[in-house]
Symmetry: C2
Subunit: 344 residues, 2 copies
């Protein structure tokens, strides 16, 4: 069973895989599946549905039965999960250390049945379906009151941590709100307490007004290279209306989001020649009566503003970033945005 | 001029290179210098001293003049510095954003004149000289009261961010205490306020007693895979005596540290077949009268305990880590330590 272990000095948690601990040799063998003609081995192909654990959710316009062909997006449990729903989130001491049982969920969202199609190739309709899958999985998982946060992310390209070529995203459901989300909530709450306004509403108003870092916008969403980007060519996609909770987004708004995402990702793809990147969704956690610190939820729907980050992995995080949590970004966000706007 | 920009939601700072901003093409060209016979081009060779900016510090047992051959360790300014001592740390607002001028220092510690020697090949005496260079540069830089923290790190291997093959470390001096160091100080202060003891003194006492995660120890230092390691095969090297400030370490203790570092690095090199890693030093910042929050320095010499971290880069930080600041570590630290202890 996996377990969470608390790193006291860094005030964060590590999920330690105790179940299938990797030995030294495991790191010297590559597990990346190269693009290849032999699709019979890829577990995410039509006809290979029995090579994955049974599906949890799928979009099947032809009403085909589960675990058969006919799906457009398919969600399955990760075959090698970091966390398991059968484990209990038991909080224990171990000498001076703290640990919590490896409770949670780890799912894979297969974004397309087409092995050769990637996010830059998807049309709006395909992107909407992926976001619908995210939204429905979040809503379903939050019915389990032990789950405090669901983190959704996509690793695009090997340097971004992708281990299977076939296009997919992942979600990890956690028994606590992660460190970065806690920081964001505390920061946006502080801003709200001082000014009575949402920080991100102010940020996008400023970015849209200044226009120098904006890439693209439509009626409901805007994409831009943030003023204090941590990564070169970092992109934020933010709803132009205030909303704390991604999972409350209507189909109509998801269409609008898909328009901005499609346009922005294609620009990144063109400008940086298929760069590896991570895409993450930041959204508000649902209220939990048993939270140790309930103040975290105070006014959260007023001050927290959900958004998406695209973090290109074209530089290497090194001893400066890993040792300080500061970042060196060798590209001016204003210039990055100009390159992205101008590429056709 | 570079500048610090404040990322409000993540509560961290990014150093934005405005001076020599990287364009999209710069990322597709690799700058890694491969091992090659043509050493005439490597700026870190004997005889190429004029290819670097003038040296700041060197260990020259033969009393040879600066910027000539004869050195064992040589410290120079980084040719492409992230920060410059000529800039002013001016704190400015920019609409709703915050920025600070790119003041600081960025130096390179050339660890050996031998192009083909790396950290796993160094003998104790060579390692001591490197640590003496670190210590003397820290002491010298802290005479500038605008410098609040000096971060020392080594990138070993391309995947760890190394861009020149010839063995070297780097140092970045900053006009503020970085986020990770602030967190560590706050956490160890909290422990001290509750218990009247140093957290890391308790941690090493526990690790040595349990013995299951210890790799090696001598009279003054211990190396171990920490209980809550964030990275597989992560190693911490900690003085067994309480000391907050690395730069106060005597030559005698540096010999003892070099013994533990040499032994541990060779074990890592053998076990994981020359893995890329980052090495960072965590030490206490000197008192600064003009600090906005002076409480950070209260009792710091009693509760903060300097230490070294070695972070192997054999897995990829992906959308989970970058989006949550939590970590998935696929190797049990107990097993990692056992592999490291057993390899010969």
């Amino acid at each position: 069973m996996a377990e969470f272990r608390y790193n006291f000095l860094k005030n964060t948690w590590s999920i330690i895989a105790t179940e299938r601990s990797k030995r030294p040799n495991d790191f010297t063998l590559s597990i990346y599946e190269e693009e290849k003609a032999d699709l019979s081995k890829c577990p995410f192909e039509y006809g290979n549905e029995d090579k994955t654990p049974p599906e949890i959710f799928a979009i099947r316009p032809d009403n085909s039965p589960p675990n058969t062909q006919g799906w457009l997006v398919r969600v399955i449990p990760n075959k090698y999960p970091a966390l398991r729903i059968e484990n209990q989130p038991i909080n224990e001491g171990y000498y001076i250390f703290d640990k919590i049982g490896g409770f949670g969920a780890h799912e894979v969202i297969i974004e397309t049945p087409d092995h050769f199609k990637h996010i830059q190739d998807f049309d709006e309709h395909e992107i909407v379906n992926i976001f619908i899958a995210f939204r429905e999985r979040i809503k379903s998982l939050y019915k389990d009151l032990r789950i405090k946060y669901v983190h959704i992310f996509k690793n695009h390209g090997r340097e971004a941590g992708k281990s299977l070529v076939h296009s997919h995203s992942q979600l990890i459901a956690l028994p606590m709100i992660p460190k970065q989300q806690l920081t964001m909530i505390k920061q946006s709450k502080k801003y709200f307490q001082e000014k009575g306004r949402c920080y991100l509403c102010d940020e996008i108003k400023t970015e849209i007004k200044l226009a120098e870092r904006v890439i693209y916008e439509n009626e409901s969403f805007v994409s831009y290279c943030p003023y204090a980007s941590l990564y070169p060519f970092e992109v934020k996609i933010t709803p132009k209306y205030h909303s704390s909770d991604f999972s409350s987004t209507s189909d109509e708004k998801l269409k609008s989001l898909a328009d901005v995402l499609k346009f922005t990702v294609r620009k990144l793809h063109k400008t940086l020649i298929n760069p590896p990147f991570n895409l993450v969704i930041h959204t508000s956690p649902p209220y939990r009566e048993d939270a140790i610190d309930k103040s975290i939820y105070e006014n959260i729907e007023k001050h927290f503003h959900w958004h998406i980050e695209i973090l290109p992995r074209i530089t290497t995080l090194a001893g400066f970033e890993l040792g300080t949590d500061y970042y060196i970004n060798p590209t001016l966000p204003e210039e990055a945005a100009r390159f992205l706007r101008e590429v056709v």
